[in-house]
């Protein structure tokens, strides 16, 4: 199956959703997205970090130094209350959009 380009503006939503479970570092976030999408979603790893920094600047996520599973020092990202609220709004928007697109695609 062809790998899919990431839709504009959805990277933030995906990252917020991925880290909503537990704090993760940059590479783990990329890995998690790849696993969940079964390697079909094409994400430029290089664009992940600017997205993380941008969201941290907006106050949606926070970061702190911690240890990875391999006991390495890493910057772990987690959701802030503001980020959780934003994620909820974005999820609702996405579901609405997906519903609309689904109906359009079913037009005879």
């Amino acid at each position: 199956m062809t790998r899919l380009n990431l839709l504009q503006g959805t990277l933030d939503l995906i990252v917020l959703k991925v880290i909503s479970g537990a704090p993760l570092h940059g590479y783990a976030i990329a890995q998690r997205i790849r696993e969940v999408s079964r390697e079909l979603l094409k994400i430029e790893e290089g664009s992940l970090y600017p997205a993380l920094y941008r969201m941290e600047k907006k106050g949606w996520i926070r970061s702190r130094w911690g240890l990875t599973e391999k006991q390495r020092q890493a910057r772990l990202y987690s959701l802030t209350p503001l980020g959780r609220k934003h994620l909820g709004e974005e999820e609702a928007n996405w579901e609405a959009l997906a519903g609309i697109m689904g109906r359009i695609m079913k037009l005879g």
Binding site: N5, L6, L7, Q8, H25, G26, Y27, A28, A30, Q31, E44, E45, G46, S47, Y49, P50, Y53, R54, E56, K57, T68, K70, R72, Q73, A74, R75
Partner: protein
């Protein structure tokens, strides 16, 4: 304020360290995963680096995002070390002066050349020199006057109006006479050439009167054959009386042991006029000046063409006009301070209009200033070229494509990607035909229409 600056500097250093550490960890983990997947060590490393992209660009973008630096506009403050330009403009001229001083002063009959220096700083005849390095200073300014025997028409000669200690500071003894006596204001010292020529080699010239532009002056000395100071066309030296409205310069005798460091500090006074050059080299200076200034004009014209070309390209690809205008405003606003700074520096060392082309130093300072301006503008244009055609943010992840050897199949160049998914920009490599048009490619596919600029962003 200093504490604030220090704290900010520490925060930014920590931010740089954090970004570097995150990218390093990313590569390390990715490499290990690739190794586990069966790749060879080098291949695993290469694959990890490839997937991550241009680390420098990523780090730069992350840094910009966290440092409140605008994502659009021209990143001159962060990309161009303004202080380095300013430092170059300040340090380069005296550095060149330091190199040239020994060369140009070697012919002067100075008793102690290592202690001799010159400044173009405005100084009063009372030798009120700001620096503590000079032991003594003598003032002078250039002048032109008709010199003749009384009652004759005379002809114009270049000369200098000098302070009374002018020759004593250089340690030069006249051939005839004793120099300025200090008892009269209208005294003149003449050159050997003037004495032998216009004044008829009168052996009893000392004590006689000559006319300086119609005013009688008493000759108090004749300088030795071949004596010159800064300009070998000078034929006389009179006592300076009143310097209002004139550029007055100082020749300085540094304190014993002051050495090169003191000379360097003195040279920071940015001497423009003092570099002497012989009559024979004047034509070469004119020619070089003409060629370089012509080249600078050409560069300026190319810059204008570049600006026009960029505007046309951006508009053709549907960028918002207001966004474009805003970007040019940023370009102007950010390029202005360094240019103003350079202009002030240049004004401080600029030559007078009359001698604009008549001094190597004037030419050098003008040239350095002009090249710095061109560098700033050129950097701005290059910076503008590598921006997203939709959002005007910096493009990242440069990817070299094509090779010169297979130019028939694919033009070589570099492809840049907008990190926000608006498309890719192919920048063709320059060829013998010159710079080719940039090739902007929006993402294709079912969702292409979603990537088009909205009505709002079109302005």
């Amino acid at each position: 304020m200093l504490r604030g600056l220090w704290r900010r500097w520490c925060e930014r250093r920590e931010l740089r360290r954090r970004i570097a550490e995150e990218l390093r960890l990313h590569l390390q983990e990715a490499t290990e995963d690739n190794l586990a997947a069966g790749l060879a060590p080098q291949a695993a490393k290469d694959e990890a680096a490839f997937r991550l992209g241009d680390q420098k660009a990523i780090a730069h973008e992350c840094y910009q995002l966290m440092c409140d630096e605008p994502a659009d506009g021209v990143g001159i403050p962060s990309r161009i070390p303004v202080m380095a330009y300013a430092a170059a403009a300040v340090v380069l001229p005296p550095l060149l002066a330091l190199l040239l001083i020994p060369h140009y002063l070697r012919d002067l009959p100075l008793q102690d050349p290592d202690r001799f220096s010159i400044s173009n700083r405005r100084v009063a005849l009372g030798f009120d020199v700001a620096s503590h390095a000079p032991e003594e200073a003598a003032a002078y300014h250039r002048m032109v006057a008709r010199i003749s025997r009384p009652g004759e028409a005379g002809e114009p000669f270049a000369g200098q109006a000098v302070s009374g200690n002018f020759f004593a500071l250089q340690g030069v003894q006249p051939l005839l006479g004793t120099g300025f006596t200090g008892t009269q204001r209208r005294e003149i010292v003449i050159s050997y050439e003037l004495w032998q020529g216009t004044l008829g080699a009168d052996p009893a010239i000392v004590g006689r009167l000559v006319e300086v532009s119609g005013t009688p002056y008493r000759v108090v000395a004749v300088m030795p054959h071949g004596y010159w100071f800064l300009n070998d066309t000078d034929r006389f030296w009179t006592r300076a009386v009143g310097v209002a409205g004139r550029e007055v310069y100082a020749s300085l005798l540094l304190r014993p042991g002051a050495g090169r460091a003191a000379k360097f500090i003195e040279a920071l006074g940015a001497p423009v006029h003092w570099i002497p050059f012989r009559e024979a080299s004047r034509s070469r200076v004119y020619a070089a000046s003409g060629i370089i200034q012509g080249a600078l004009l050409l560069l300026a014209l190319l810059g204008l063409v570049q600006i026009w070309s960029l505007r046309r390209t951006l508009l053709r690809h549907g960028s918002a006009r207001w966004t474009l205008l805003r970007n040019y405003f940023f370009l102007f606003a950010k390029a202005l301070p360094p240019l103003v700074m350079l202009a002030i520096l240049w004004l401080a060392v600029r030559p007078s209009p009359a001698s604009y082309f008549a001094g190597v130093w004037a030419f050098l300072s003008t040239f350095v200033f002009a090249m710095l301006c061109v560098a700033v503008v050129w950097q701005s244009l290059v910076d503008q070229r590598l921006r997203c055609f939709i959002c005007l943010r910096k493009l990242s992840m440069p990817l070299p494509l094509g090779v010169i050897g297979s130019i028939l199949f694919q033009l070589p160049g570099t492809e840049y990607i907008c990190a926000y998914g608006h498309g890719t920009l192919f920048v063709p490599a320059p060829t013998s035909e010159g710079l080719r048009e940039l090739d902007w490619n929006p993402p294709a596919g079912l969702w292409a229409e979603l990537f088009e600029p909205s009505a709002a962003t079109r302005g």
